[in-house]
Symmetry: none
Subunit: 225 residues, 2 copies
DNA sequence: GCCCGTTTTCAGCCTCTTTTCAGAAATCCA
DNA sequence: TGGATTTCTGAAAAGAGGCTGAAAACGGGC
């Protein structure tokens, strides 16, 4: 799961790469428009972070070109200006989102996650939390040398919990995101699955556990012991 | 610090209000376009969360009207569709951001913070008062190296107290905001919870304490010693 | 149709939260 | 000072939410 960053300013490019890697992706960096275009056309990226001002070929034209070539990779555009005209132009060139510098790390992450999710992909490849790692595509949980596969529903629940460890996910969220908006599943369905997942965590011997916060939700936490 | 939510679906409106309040704002809700417009024109809000589909007056037109009246409150638009045309139209109407349903709490908060910050205001997501810090989303109180989690009701009460330390919050306010408008909870319920919270502050060893002002309410104060 | 793993359902138990109550303490005011 | 009022808090009861084992129902592959 790779993200392409096309940004000529080295410091910003580095920072972005760090953030993206924190999210569980591998980052590739290109510093000019033409190199960026070549790379983007490869179509192997999960998302592209694209600065508007670039040497060689500007962001708008780069974007139009790859869209013309039917590369549908989600694109997050970055610009120093927040002019309406620019933002509209960005969207019309085929950007999925438009972020004005400066921005917060959290905001950037949220937007990146949002555009990737919007195109239907499941978020990063391998996510790590303490001694536990999780591959959402495969649905594999690994702790040290032990590893096991999750069922479809278990996998989706784990994905949501892994998205932001420590921050609780409510049963309501789980029900609508995993079972669907108009399903008639009830709270106990979630509880049953949480129970399944806990058994598997125990089996793996991980220090990570799923903690219930009454009336609030479930979150991943590292065991105190 | 108020945020106006213009959203006709009551459930979503309620959820958004909760989130916004967790961030330390006061939420006002309007369920239809015309009422929303009146409220928005007052210009007293820090930000407006605006659904596109509304009875009475749609979001685009509402937004254009208030911008024509030179109300520059940041606006976060919500829509069920992610059509390019819609997004362009939203931006052209004067929206600061465009969020497609469904979205994550975190994503929503990040965007809201972003648009407010962009217009110059600042909001910390962790609130600090003397040696005590409080994270409303997580419901965690921290003092130096010690930290603990609050229950649902404790959390809500603490949120309200933290909103304006030193300024007292009445039992009546607490009852309506925490227990709800039509609950039959009595003053002693509040008193009991204040007592719980005091115990927890003691446990943390914080200098912050909850002071009662007879017939007026409770406020956070720093201990004299 | 049968087998398998997955998913749902149910019931009983357990735990934490919330409410209730009663007496003690503090505060106010005449 | 003394009585009325308000607030505090420990303990217990009531309630809601959460857990889990077992069994039933489902559904895809052979």
């Amino acid at each position: 799961m790779r993200v392409l960053i096309i940004e000529d300013e080295p410091r910003l490019a580095g920072t972005l790469a760090d953030i993206v890697e924190d999210m569980g992706y591998t980052a590739a960096i290109r510093h000019d428009g033409n190199q960026g275009l070549d790379e983007a056309l490869s179509g192997v990226y999960e998302a592209i972070v694209l600065d508007v001002m670039l040497p060689g070929l500007n962001g708008f034209d780069l974007l139009k070109t790859i869209r013309a070539e039917h590369v549908e990779t989600p694109v997050l555009m970055l610009t120093a200006r927040s002019e309406l005209a620019d933002r509209v132009r960005g969207l019309e060139s085929g950007a999925d989102y438009y972020l004005t510098k400066p921005f917060e790390t959290l905001e950037f992450q949220a937007c990146l996650r949002a555009i990737i999710r919007r195109k239907g992909a499941i978020i990063p490849e391998i996510r790590q939390f303490d001694d536990l790692s999780f591959s959402p595509t495969e649905g594999r949980l690994t702790c040290r040398d032990r590893s096991l596969l999750l069922s479809a529903k278990e996998k989706e629940i784990m994905s949501l919990l892994f998205l932001n460890p420590h921050s609780p996910v409510s049963k309501e969220t789980l029900l609508t995101k995993v079972w669907g908006y108009d399903s008639d599943a009830v709270d106990n369905n979630v509880e049953a699955y949480i129970s399944f997942l806990r058994k598997k965590l125990l089996l793996l011997g991980s220090r990570v556990q799923i903690t219930a916060r009454r009336r609030i939700g479930y979150s991943l936490e590292v065991s105190e012991l």
